[in-house]
Assembly symmetry: C2
Homo-oligomer: 346 residues x 2
């Protein structure tokens, strides 16, 4: 049976819900003060805050975000758009972002976005229509997805990217990929390696490609001839670490070291080496990139490049909440563990 309340849903809530006016009267303060407390505005005295909080509790008042949005307020939502096969990377960024959101009174929405198809724009439009987030941030490869960036711009959404590479007016946290690739080359060359295989990032990860450029810089500086057979493409996942490693170790003159340009692929190389009975690092040195949790729990522990993922996740939230100031710069750092050692015969 249809009742007025079921036809016109407004009736359901309109009757008994206390208003901000009730809270102000109960607390003996102005409506504006209640609003300031509810919105976590700065410079509200502890006493006023306590009185308003007590009134809110006594009346079971729920400051209605919906009403605040209609009034042009903030949504206190930040959205994280991602598509990355490496769970350790995204998980590290998300942990930092979620904790920073909590500290700031914000909330984090996570939104997996496919790399192609019309559906991904519908997801985005629906996100904006339904939630009107105060900002959105993206990690590679979405950071360089010009179609997604354009749509975000059309939707007038504040947007921040991590490791963006294409030109875009949106905020970007640059990452020192090239110098980090150089660090890996210098490390392995310093250990006496001359034949070093590289499992490169997928082409969609443009910033990460610079790791290979930096690695080549190191070869050039050490006057080591470039052998293009030593560069194979990976997909940033465990399986492509195994297949990339197979391709490299199957060469007539196989490498004595492999630089896998992310940790997930490096774990694949380690597994392949174990399967073949190679001693690590005596027979083969392996270096990864990211310093994800898996790099520490594998055997041997992985030499890798530490990206400060937690701090990067925090920074991108700060940038969105506080209005897109200058990007902080982050340092990457080589973490030497036991998967890399002197070249055989040295």
């Amino acid at each position: 049976m249809l009742t007025p309340a079921s036809i016109i849903p407004q009736f359901r809530t309109a009757i008994s819900m206390p208003s901000i006016r009730d809270v102000a009267a109960f607390a003996g303060v102005s409506i504006k003060t209640v609003s300031r407390v509810v919105n976590n505005a700065p410079n509200v005295s502890r006493d006023l805050r306590d009185r308003v909080a007590a009134a809110i509790k006594a009346l079971d008042y729920r400051p209605n975000q919906a009403a605040r949005r209609l009034a042009g307020g903030r949504s206190f939502l930040i959205a994280f758009l991602y598509n990355n096969p490496a769970p350790g990377y995204g998980g590290g960024i998300q942990a930092g972002a979620a904790n920073r959101c909590r500290e700031l009174g914000y909330h984090l929405v996570v939104e997996p976005i496919s790399l192609s198809g019309e559906e991904r724009f519908e997801v985005l439009d629906r996100l904006v229509a339904a939630l009107r987030p105060d900002g959105v941030f993206l990690t590679p490869p979405l950071s360089d997805d010009v179609q997604i960036l354009r749509r975000l711009s059309e939707l007038n959404l504040p947007c921040a990217r991590i490791a963006g590479s294409v030109m875009s007016p949106s905020f970007n946290i640059p990452t020192p990929e090239r110098s980090a690739g150089r660090m890996v080359a210098d490390h392995l060359i310093g250990l006496g390696h001359r034949r070093i295989g590289v499992i490169c990032p997928p082409v969609s990860h443009r910033a990460a490609q610079r790791r290979v450029d930096g690695f080549r810089d190191g070869l050039t500086a050490a006057r080591i001839a470039m052998d293009e057979q030593m560069f194979v493409e990976g997909a940033f996942d465990f399986a492509s670490g195994i297949s990339g490693g197979e391709a490299l170790l199957g060469l007539p003159h196989p490498p004595t070291a492999i630089f896998a340009t992310n940790d997930d692929m490096a774990l694949g190389v380690l597994t392949l080496a174990h399967r073949r009975g190679l001693r690590l690092p005596d027979d083969l040195s392996v270096v990864g990139f990211d310093d994800t949790p898996g790099s520490l729990t594998t055997w041997p522990p992985l030499t890798t490049v530490r990206q400060p993922l937690d701090a990067m996740g925090r920074a991108v939230v700060d940038a969105l909440v506080e209005g897109l100031a200058d990007a902080p710069s982050f340092r990457f750092e080589l973490v030497k563990r036991d998967s890399s050692g002197p070249a055989p015969g040295r």
Copy 2:
């Protein structure tokens, strides 16, 4: 300079925004039909859906979630509350939940919740006040956190738990922990092991404690005397796998196999074994629990119990969106890999 629009923010949007009425007129359908399309209601014909979509696009209409909320509508938000030291477990649940949300037109908010302190209730209250999610789900140990469950109930939030153990009226997806623990015991006993160490879950993870009960069932069934020294407590993280393994391998009569009750701890045992030069599984068998990605990328690949994390994440979203029907039952499965083998001397 203050203008009316800057003082009264409503004015900013009230002027040019097309209404649902405009969309209905443009598409030549009823307002109710537009609402049904916008809300992804079932049983709307493809033709009507297309006409409404075209009108929405032509007018750049954005169905305003804020207005829909004021009208008592849904928020299309599901919140995931978590506090678990094992990133692989939470990541698997989240991936399933996020993808299911996307399919249903919902969005997933992730909210790390601390295990103690008043602050965690503030986080929860703020979440509800700001976003009014349509439902909330929790994973262990929050699934058994009676204070959090009580607060969620006071807030009238539909709540679903994964592997809840304490009595609570809220929806719960039960997990066959005890029978899975029994499977591990039967597997290792079948391989000839008689001295088996167990690194137990932390006490806060009540459902997971049943893994140990099931393991003890297996010992009893095989008439193997219970040696309480063989049971040590862990913290569900890598470090406690190492320290727990050290305690067990340091016994006068050390075990020939170790059952670590989650994968993160099992990876710690593997690392400890490698450090000590033990051959795996010849000198020591190791079994984990969860089948997280790390169990496959370690060496040797880990024998573990597969929890269908993706399906469990999907199910909990389905339960919340479709109104908390009967809980589905999930099967856990022993995945035999190379970290377990015949007992030494067999």
